[in-house]
């Protein structure tokens, strides 16, 4: 329910953005905006930003144990919200970016990142998100979020992030 309200406000913001009023910054556009645009036309960049902001707001990522790709209860909770949001915002397509910490070798970590992204994609699909709206990419250990070399940083980096396209 809450998401619907957010969407409505955001849609209003999208219209505001078109008339370049200052309120555009505070809300931006939404996935609903994409549904109103004619099929086949490219969505404005600001709309993706907004989808992304919404994803970040509800939790855009799942975290994993060391050398693991199974989904923890916390990861499932975050993904349940993502799936609900995606089922509401049916125009949004996402890429799941799989990442690994630096405590593995480069090529194995590329495979591990892909596994993690795939775990998330599979789970979203079981919750009704169509497979053609989801793609995956692995960055292995190439794009850490936390640059420190300690357990906390490595836990931050073992993640799959859902990014609106």
């Amino acid at each position: 329910m809450r998401f619907k309200i957010v969407s409505l406000i955001a849609a209003a913001g999208f219209l505001a953005a078109c008339s370049t009023t200052p309120t555009a910054e505070t809300s931006g556009a939404s996935g609903d905006g994409a549904m109103t645009s004619p099929a086949g036309t490219a969505a404005p960049v600001s709309m993706d930003m907004s989808s992304q902001e919404q994803l970040v707001g509800i939790g855009d990522r799942a975290f994993f144990g060391f050398d693991k790709y199974d989904l923890s209860a916390a990861a499932r909770t975050a993904l349940n919200k993502q799936a609900a949001w995606m089922n509401t915002n049916r125009g949004v397509r996402v890429t799941i970016e799989g990442h690994a910490d630096e405590r593995g070798t480069r090529e194995y970590n590329l495979a591990l990142g892909e596994r993690r992204a795939s775990s998330v994609a599979d789970y979203l699909m079981t919750l009704g998100v169509s497979s053609d709206r989801i793609s995956t990419i692995s960055y292995g250990k190439e794009r850490p979020e936390n640059a420190a070399s300690n357990e906390a940083a490595w836990a931050d980096n073992r993640r799959a992030v859902t990014v609106a396209r």
């Binding site: 480069r106 495979a111 795939s118 070399s149």
Partner: protein, 443 residues
């Protein structure tokens, strides 16, 4: 002063050993022994008549001396200590003069420019104690190729004294790194094995990883995130052209050329599962080699092309496996504690180098292809990605430093090390460096 005394003592000690050696055989170094006292040798500036010839003579001698010094097997004697002058040396060595400064071996020669603008470089390697020439060669080359001539001379000397083929006339392709750790800029770069003649092959716009040379060294296969899609590419060094290996439904990565250069072996992920494939470059036919729900990656062909060593977590953790080149016949070869990764078959076929992770440390090691004889060569917070010199007796790898709590530090650098674990040296690069891959000897 103390240093000099010590040096002459060591030299004297070695000269006794070498004298005994020479009594039975000639000047040799057994590099399989591990700890070897470096052999003192004199590399004289190559003789030249004109200013240009003289200048090349000095530069070539310097590169030869540096090559041999970095091998850890030789100690070039400071030129200041030389007694015999270049002019008379060009006629004939006065061996007494070289014995006095404890030179076991002497390298001398000459540079001449030919009428057609080429350079003729001649060298001789002398056993100072027996006063015999061990090897002598002449090379014709365009003057701009003087470094390669020097490396070829180093290779001849190394070969004559160690009995092993050399590795100096070779190149390294690697990933040059810059920028913050969370958004590293990575570029394909190439250099001679001594770090000279460095150049960047890509501009850093796309993330690139894990380059490998083709056997003829005209091409490099690597992973690029061109347009944000991770796929295997082939880079032609001459033309600078980059071509995708093929259109595949999933991420293609971990590419290496086969020993004959006709195909590329690589890993591809599909629905989160990574399997190994080969693609024949002429026919573009692809063949799937593994079929397992585990991660199968990091393949490496045996030099005879009959076997493949690869990395898999099919046992639950990353381990090394050998299989037939057609797939099948999979056998696990790593059994010690910890996780094993990045296997690389030596160009001689006798060892497999790997990365091992155990108790929060990373190690570079070697084992026999049947898994026996494991030996660890070096360790660190993170060491990874061993690559063999063309003679299978030296390796390079990279080392990443630990970052602090603010994410500072974390430098990456390339090092070389003997396969005995001795003589670890940094290879100096303009930026941070990772994923080194050694070329075969240049043709």
């Amino acid at each position: 002063m103390t240093y000099r005394l010590l040096t002459s003592f060591v030299a004297l000690f070695i000269s006794v050993v070498w004298t005994l050696n020479v009594a039975h055989a000639e000047l040799t170094i057994d590099i399989t022994r591990g700890v070897v006292e470096p052999m003192p040798l004199a590399v004289a500036d190559l003789h030249g008549k004109g200013q240009m010839e003289k200048s090349f003579g000095v530069k070539i001698a310097e590169v030869v001396a540096n090559d041999l010094e970095r091998s850890g097997l030789f100690t070039p004697i400071n030129k200041e200590a030389f007694i015999q002058d270049g002019e008379s040396l060009n006629v004939l060595p006065r061996f007494g003069d070289w014995r006095i400064i404890n030179a076991q071996a002497l390298v001398q020669g000459r540079v001449e420019m030919t009428v057609d603008g080429r350079m003729r470089v001649e060298f001789r390697l002398w056993d100072v104690l027996s006063e015999k020439q061990m090897v002598g060669r002449a090379y014709f080359s365009v003057p701009s190729n003087w470094r390669r001539v020097a490396h070829k001379i180093s290779d001849e000397i190394y070969k004559r004294i160690t009995g092993e083929s050399g590795y100096f006339d070779s190149r390294i392709v690697y990933i040059a790194e810059s920028g913050p750790k969370i958004n590293r800029v990575k570029r394909l770069a190439i250099m001679d094995q001594d770090g000279e003649k460095h150049s960047f092959l890509t501009d850093g716009a796309d993330l690139v990883l894990t380059p490998r040379f083709s056997p003829n060294q005209q091409e490099i296969t690597y992973l690029s995130y061109y347009k944000g899609v991770p796929r295997v590419y082939i880079f032609n060094i001459e033309s600078g052209r980059q071509e995708i290996l093929g259109e595949f439904p999933g991420m293609t990565y971990a590419p290496r050329f086969s020993a004959d250069g006709r195909s590329v072996i690589f890993a591809m992920t599909k629905n989160g599962n990574s399997e190994l494939y080969t693609m024949h470059l002429a026919t573009r036919k692809t063949r799937k080699l593994t079929n397992h729900s585990a991660i199968d990656t990091s393949p490496s062909y045996a030099p005879d092309g009959k076997k493949i060593v690869f990395n898999s977590d099919r046992s639950g953790t990353q381990q090394l496996y050998v299989m037939n080149s057609t797939g099948g016949g999979v056998k696990r070869i790593s059994f010690n504690k910890g996780r094993y990764a990045t296997p690389v078959w030596s160009p001689r076929g006798d060892w497999i180098a790997f990365t091992r992770m155990y108790q929060k440390q990373f190690f570079i090691g070697v084992m026999r292809p049947d898994g026996t004889g494991e030996r660890l060569l070096t360790k660190g917070f993170l060491v990874e990605s061993p690559t063999w010199a063309p003679n299978g007796r030296v390796l390079m790898f990279f080392r990443q430093d630990k970052s602090d709590a603010y994410g500072r530090g974390g430098r990456t650098r390339v090092f070389s090390v003997d396969f005995t674990g001795h003589n670890e040296r940094e290879v100096i690069t303009p930026l941070d460096a990772s994923d080194p891959a050694w070329s075969p000897l240049l043709p």
